[in-house]
Assembly symmetry: C2
Amino acid sequence: MITIQDVAKAAGVSVATVSRVLNNHPSVSEKTREKVQRTIDQLNYQPNLLGRNLRRSETKMILVLLQNIANPFYSKIVKGMEDVGYKNGYHIMICNTDSDPIKENAYLKLLKNRLVDGVVFMAPVISDEELTEISKNYCVVQCCEYKEFADVSSVSIDNEAAAYKATQHLISQGHRRIGLINGNSGIISESQREKGYKRALQEAGIEIDSQLIMYDSYGYRGGQRAAKYFLSIDKRPTAIFAVSDIIAIGAIKEIKEKGLSVPKDMAVVGFDDTGIASMYDPPLTTVAQPRYDLGRVTMEIMLERIRNNEAESKRVFLEHSLIIRESTVG
Amino acid sequence: MITIQDVAKAAGVSVATVSRVLNNHPSVSEKTREKVQRTIDQLNYQPNLLGRNLRRSETKMILVLLQNIANPFYSKIVKGMEDVGYKNGYHIMICNTDSDPIKENAYLKLLKNRLVDGVVFMAPVISDEELTEISKNYCVVQCCEYKEFADVSSVSIDNEAAAYKATQHLISQGHRRIGLINGNSGIISESQREKGYKRALQEAGIEIDSQLIMYDSYGYRGGQRAAKYFLSIDKRPTAIFAVSDIIAIGAIKEIKEKGLSVPKDMAVVGFDDTGIASMYDPPLTTVAQPRYDLGRVTMEIMLERIRNNEAESKRVFLEHSLIIRESTVG
DNA sequence: AGGTCATATGTAACCCATTACATAGGAGGA
DNA sequence: TCCTCCTATGTAATGGGTTACATATGACCT
């Protein structure tokens, strides 16, 4: 392996000068710079970042902890983070936690052991207090899901307002019995979306019927199960608001399988506007999150925090929008 | 920051002894070990991995280069890699290349700069020669897609045989005019699958009609465009083999939109058995790859190579299977 | 000429953990 | 008692950069 020493010797200068050339330090004469650069090129020298990282005590790596990359919701968010990181010389490291606290903890070691300069939590399972504590010593930002009582920056949409808008849309289509298929993993968006759903009903003078609120796992099967239940009850709903596209699609599949039509017999709204929403049959009405920007802003806040460790934590909410497609409008 | 020096001082031993305790070196007396461990716990000392990495010249990180994590095909593969890596103390770093040679090259710097111990290519854009060259000095494995003439280990399925089987299935359903929707990105699976498609036709005594072979970008739109074309030509095909599920779904959407039925008017086969295949309406007949195992085996070969740098490169082919659903069978 | 100052470069400490080698101290045998 | 050998521990070199500080060189001024 070629080291800075080898380059220094070959170029007839000291390692300090080579280092200065590598880092574009101004106090190197043009002549020397050229000579050193030529030697670097000749030897095809690549600085060993392990040495640099140790000395600088930084790695220019950001860890992104998400539940599972299988979730199509994440891809554009990660893209936003990557683009901003890349521009600033940072690399992104994506890791699946499977919402397993043990795994999450294992990855947090990378932070504590200085192998990454910061961590983005997409769905923290750690407690509010621990998260706040970690944030005192390390750079942490939350994206989309966040811990309400943790004093740690977060970037998300206003889930309550988004759910309110989605439910209102169903009401405006004449629906009075509207089912909610919520997740059951205890993340903050669930309770916020339920609040928005309830507020829309209340404001429209519709009584909240706990029979119409189902909790199941995120995913296709959860949607199928919930829809099956809704179709089985006495006064079945005429519309469903599902807190994710995949849940909504599971529900639609179930409804169609029963020989019913979407949206005529049952309207369905999803959430996230993942790729499948527009591809499905019928195309899905859904709440679009500004995914790229969620990632972009998250990374901007992260870099700000890395540069100024004293930066105050903040909550940022980005705009969402309701995308109306054929699953709710005949 | 607490260093090994602090621990040594507090415990009244040398740094060497602390290091030995950290690394479970046998030549430490039980008494000393306990004393040091107590101090470590008391100070909540976390070894700085930057120091360790520099000294050991390894980072226990593996870089996985894929085109884009948005592709649902990857998630289980990555899971397989992670599980094996995790068990062996390795972390996985996922990076999107967008098939951009510049980005790919930038990430390869992480390898050359020693920031990762190895690289998995899921879709190399680099040339066969360069790849072979890199593999001489660094640990590299290819997964799913690979460079045919690069002397670098790879793990994949037999794409030719899989496409042969898929096409044969359509033939067995009585189809004689079978369209192929292939990708146009030049990866090896494209030509292999086309070969398999052609072989199945030839063996069944069906003439190959170049009118029935379309090349478009991977993705929903590509599928739609190709289907639109197939529906417009004179002697339209009665079945389509698409080289990815998303392409197939784009095609189905287009077919249904024209008021035709799948599979009655047009049967469709996809590839990969991604989640959407079973969720779609109709559920999609597709070729399932052993995705978890592809990842698992890839990582096993990687670790083998890391441990024994002299290990020979090899090509591993895992079993695939055709999953028949309603998009081809009434 | 002598002094001041800026520029360019070198020397060596430093980041933190690992480990080869050295050594102290105790056990056991002659 | 003296010697050998083993165990436990310490000392210091090491990995590859970065950078504070020291110094050499030369320009410019009086």
